[in-house]
């Protein structure tokens, strides 16, 4: 029971793949200009992650170490192709705008990272939950960033107007920077700042530690 909770919940904040491990930043920057594409991307990545974790966990005892990365990549790539085909069949509009980024899930470090560090050493059930948990951790950041960017960049969320822009006679001046990729870096940076102040355990040791008074020999 504890392990299940751990697999599902620690990737949300304590070991969040984006804010703690700083993985998957590329897609977090690329597709967070609108909440809708962030939601689609979150679903796509979570399903690929769960599927690849299960598959790799299933074959973990039969996988020679020397070729494991290639096999893992093949498994992940086939999952991504299925998701891409699914989107093209049932949501062609979305698939057209997102297709490049869905294809790039193959290179998303989170998927390979979980396969390599978790699924390759653990049983099927817990690997599946780990995939879902990490997918949710990724989705949490993606959706947060997308809400901030779309709201401040356009004044509306999912076609629903929340702030009335100046051009339509309202008061809100859209922030064009929010629609440019650098803003995602700023927002993710602020989120990391907040999380690490809340949980100082996540802060890395600095590269250079000044000597303390004790180490220098005077108390």
């Amino acid at each position: 029971m504890v392990r299940i909770r751990q697999a599902l919940l620690t990737p949300l904040i304590d070991e969040n793949p984006v804010t703690f491990q700083i993985l998957g930043i590329c897609s977090a920057v690329a597709i967070t200009t609108s909440l809708y594409s962030a939601l689609v991307m979150s679903l796509a990545l979570t399903s690929v992650l769960a599927y690849s974790n299960v598959t790799i966990s299933l074959m973990r005892r039969h996988l020679p170490r020397s070729v494991r990365i290639i096999v893992q990549m093949t498994v992940i790539a086939s999952g991504v192709i299925v998701v891409d085909e699914f989107l093209q069949a049932f949501a062609p509009e979305t698939a057209r705008t997102l297709s490049v980024f869905v294809g790039q899930i193959v290179t998303n470090c989170i998927v390979l990272g979980r396969a390599e560090s978790f699924a390759a050493h653990n049983r099927v059930g817990i690997s599946f939950l780990d995939g879902i948990g990490n997918g949710m951790g990724f989705s949490l950041i993606l959706i947060t960033v997308a809400i901030i960017r779309e709201l401040f960049g356009t004044g509306s969320l999912m076609q629903v107007e929340i702030f009335k822009p100046v051009i339509d006679g309202g008061w809100f001046e859209p922030n064009a920077l929010a629609l440019l990729p650098p803003s995602a870096f700023f927002i993710i940076g602020f989120i990391i700042w907040g999380v690490r102040s809340w949980k100082p355990k996540q802060v890395e040791r600095s590269d250079f530690q000044p000597l303390t008074d004790h180490e220098m020999g005077h108390e």
Partner: protein
């Protein structure tokens, strides 16, 4: 999570009252401002000099005073001229109440009236910038238990000078907040930042709110009046468009043209540059480097000209007075923290700024206020430049030592 934990480490002081905590940084700043030592000491190991970080920052403010005076007069002059052109005799709002109520009027021939009119646009912008940056500085200094940041006045002042007069005041607050927090405090304050915070604030506004801050109606803040800056004219139609608008080279040099509040006068910038070089605040090498880079790049583009773009054919004498190049060169490229710190590095840094200004200005008609981006990019390269200068110096001395020991 305590708010203090959010902003940085602190040591817990026992029995310190909360009031004292908030008052302390301000008291220290005032003390620094009023009681700085003037005694000198010329022998090692303790060097004592009258100059301080605070004094250096104040020198930046003092050096901008010619720009500020000419800029405010120019702003009032352009506004009063615009009123004549639009046949307005009154303005709406509180500025009119002061100008008419105190009998100052809107005569564009009257220097004082023009200055007063300009001052009424400058003051709110400056006060908002100062208040908002004081707010951030106070929070960070209380949390980190340090004295208030030395650059407080200088950055707010510089930021107000490089904004157009028609900027909405809440955007001034947002811009300076971004500059102060993202540009200064996350690195630890003045002396540690990568890019000048005021410059970063302006670049943020440039990308985030291009039409609201830098639209055609923001240079001269008379409602309904639109005028493009000389640089936009040059980007659209080259030299002919600038000359057709009635601006002469001397207008640009003296600063009689629409533009950001304090950056229009090249003459003012020159006076400021002389003051800062004489007081030792900045290095002349950066300034010469920028000139060199600009002139070299312009000659290159002139020789490539053909029919490609009007902007290619503008001579270097005009490039030097167009846009905010002079102001940015004198007050931002010379930044004592973000720029290169070695003498050779300063030359390289300056030349890099000069080259980038012309390359961006000539080839990118949208972001044509290129000095901002040039200084920004060059600042990021400054540590690398210094690294190579120092490495080369070490290598040269090592070789010399080898020669001496071998021979």
């Amino acid at each position: 999570m305590t708010p203090r934990g959010l902003l940085g480490k602190h040591k817990s002081g026992a029995g310190e009252s909360r009031l004292r905590l908030w008052v302390q940084p301000w008291r220290l700043m005032l003390e620094q401002f009023l009681y700085s030592s003037t005694s000198l000491n010329h022998s090692a190991p303790h060097i004592r000099d009258a100059s301080s970080v605070q004094g250096m920052m104040n020198n930046f403010v003092i050096a901008t005073i010619p720009c500020w005076l000419i800029g405010l007069w120019n702003l009032g002059y352009q506004s009063n001229l615009a009123m004549v052109e639009m046949e307005l005799t009154m303005l709406p709002g509180w500025r009119a109440a002061i100008l008419s109520g105190w009998g100052i009027g809107y005569d564009h021939g009257n220097v004082l009236a023009c200055f007063a009119h300009g001052l009424l646009y400058f003051l709110p912008i400056f006060l908002v910038a100062l208040l908002v940056s004081s707010f951030w500085d106070a929070i960070f200094s209380v949390v980190r238990r340090r004295p208030l940041d030395e650059g407080l006045l200088a950055f707010a002042w510089l930021f107000a000078l490089i904004l157009p007069a028609g900027v909405p005041l809440y955007l001034v607050g947002i811009g300076i907040s971004f500059g102060m927090v993202m540009g200064k405090h996350i690195y630890g304050g003045s002396g540690r930042y990568l890019v000048n915070p005021a410059l970063l604030g302006l670049i943020f506004l440039w990308f985030a709110y291009p039409s609201a801050v830098f639209g055609a109606s923001s240079w001269i803040p008379i409602p309904g009046f639109e005028q493009t800056s000389a640089l936009d004219l040059a980007a659209a139609g080259g030299m002919e468009a600038v000359l057709a608008s009635g601006l002469s080279w001397w207008d640009l040099f003296l600063g009689v043209r629409p533009g950001p509040i304090g950056t229009t006068s090249v003459l003012g910038c020159l006076l400021g540059a002389v003051y800062m070089i004489v007081t030792g605040t900045v290095s002349w090498r950066v300034l010469c480097g920028v000139m060199l880079g600009v002139v070299a790049a312009v000659f290159l583009f002139n020789s490539l000209a053909g029919d490609a773009s009007e902007m290619f054919q503008i001579p270097w004498t005009w490039h030097l007075v167009l846009g905010g190049l002079a102001f940015g060169t004198v007050f931002f490229a010379t930044d004592p923290v973000a720029g290169a710190l070695t003498d050779t590095g300063r030359w390289a840094f300056g030349v890099l700024v000069g080259l980038l200004v012309i390359v961006i200005r000539v080839t990118n008609p949208v972001y044509n206020e290129a000095i901002l981006f040039a200084v920004f990019l060059a600042s990021l390269f400054a540590p690398v430049i210094d690294f190579f200068v120092i490495e080369l110096n070490i290598r040269r001395r090592r070789r010399r030592l080898m020669e001496l020991t071998d021979g």
